[in-house]
């Protein structure tokens, strides 16, 4: 695992500074950037998947029953999913500090 706080000496670098662990950026939780969070009203959801396909963070994933669940570790709170949901099933609420 590549730790983000590790300071790497040049001797430890791969040739060409190649990174060999795919997708390691997921260790970095961008959820802390958020000031608002999306809240889903499952009753209203028509399971169209628009929130999932329109999320720039790929924060949503299908849960198997046709619903899409947001991973708050990564959601940056942009509000696109709430804006684009055709039935208004998502509301953005302020994060409490």
């Amino acid at each position: 695992m590549v730790k983000i706080d590790a300071i790497m000496g040049w001797k430890k670098l791969n040739l060409g500074a190649a990174i060999t662990e795919p997708g390691s950026a997921s260790l970095f939780k961008t959820g802390s950037w958020r000031t608002q969070r999306p809240i889903l009203d499952k009753e209203a959801c028509i399971r169209c998947g628009r929130c999932w396909i329109y999320c720039p963070e790929a924060a949503y994933s299908p849960n198997g029953d046709g619903y899409f669940i947001c991973n708050l570790d990564y959601c940056k709170g942009c509000g696109i999913c709430a804006e684009e949901c055709p039935v208004g099933a998502i509301t953005m609420v302020l994060e409490e500090i």
Binding site: I19, P22, A25, K29, C55, P56, C78, I80, E83
Partner: protein
């Protein structure tokens, strides 16, 4: 000529989109980034048998904070100007390695990714060279209409009237004083087999065009309007809506050119006024009615030209017959 495989491809279905993510969560793009969203869709459409050459710019920076990477596919960071040249090299190397039996024979899509600065400005000659040599690759320009990664400087793809840090409006100017360069048509002038314009708002259209581009042999050029809340000055939730308005006002028409034949893929006969698109963005806020009128006239002309081209049929063959 379209290979049989491309003709058989009937398109993605909204309810059965591929689940794979190749630009993983944890990338550092701004909230609501249209370019990050677009490249997420592009890689979703292509799957994991791809190699990406990515010119420096927002997408390169936000995906590769050392020692981490947000890519789950082979990816190389290249200079500002040479995404197309590096992609050419990768394609040629794959061909040789497969011919010599050093790697398994299979279909690997080579994808060059660059911003509008890396495409319309500094990368244009590398792009032209690669298109002219006929490499089998896809080039995608993530057009956020300025040099965003270095702080919103104008490019030749910045639209007329837009405020950037190097095209500030004031007593002597209205912002950007030149009209947007049409790189998709420049690419088409190389008589390559596939050219398309896309926008992430129309995700099925985007994914279908990208997939089609990968099924066609030879160079494909895709120009992607990528709304950018940070540089265009609008609320982060509006990225999809702004893209929709760009298409519905005719500012950014969606079309494809297959073997020279232009096909408009989203109807543009009844358009909304360009004001609807402009007024949502801080970069156009200083424009008065006369400038908005000027932009409207220009858009009308461009749209009429595109409709005429579609009627005209294949313009490659006609152009070639002149020689």
């Amino acid at each position: 000529m379209l290979p049989a495989e491309a003709k058989e491809f009937t398109g993605f279905k909204a309810r059965e989109l591929p689940e794979g993510e190749y630009l993983v969560p944890g990338h550092r793009a701004c909230q609501g980034c249209g370019a990050a969203l677009a490249i997420r869709m592009v890689t979703k459409a292509l799957g994991n048998r791809i190699i990406i050459a990515n010119a420096t710019g927002c997408i390169e920076i936000i995906s590769s904070a050392f020692p981490q990477t947000a890519w789950a596919v082979p990816w190389i960071h290249v200079a500002f100007e040479n995404a197309a040249a590096v992609a050419s090299g990768i394609e040629a190397a794959l061909k040789v390695l497969m011919r010599k039996g050093k790697i398994k024979k299979e279909k690997i899509t080579v994808l060059a990714v660059a911003g509008d600065g890396g495409t319309a400005d500094i990368g244009l000659q590398a792009l032209s060279g690669a298109l002219e040599r006929g490499h089998d690759f896809i080039y995608i320009c993530l057009d956020n209409e300025a040099y965003m990664n270095t702080g919103i400087q104008r490019s030749s793809s910045t639209p007329y009237g837009a405020r950037t840090t190097t095209s500030p409006p004031g007593k002597k100017g209205i912002g950007q004083v030149t009209w947007k360069k049409n790189v998709a048509m420049i690419a088409a002038a190389h008589s390559i087999p596939y050219v398309a314009t896309v926008c992430p708002t129309y995700y099925l259209d985007l994914m279908n065009k990208v997939k089609k581009a990968s099924l066609i042999t030879g160079p494909a050029y895709i120009h992607c309007l990528s709304p950018c809340p940070t540089g265009w000055r609008y609320g982060t939730n509006l990225t999809i809506k702004i893209g929709r308005l760009a298409v519905e006002t005719g500012v950014f028409p969606l079309y494809e050119i297959v073997d020279g034949r232009v096909k408009i893929t989203h109807p543009i006969r009844r358009l909304k006024p360009v004001k609807d698109y402009l007024q949502l963005q801080g970069r156009f806020r200083h424009l008065g009615d006369e400038h908005i009128h000027e932009i409207q006239e220009r858009v009308n002309k461009e749209v009429a030209k595109l409709i005429a081209l579609e009627k005209f049929g294949s313009f490659y063959k006609t152009a070639l017959s002149y020689f």
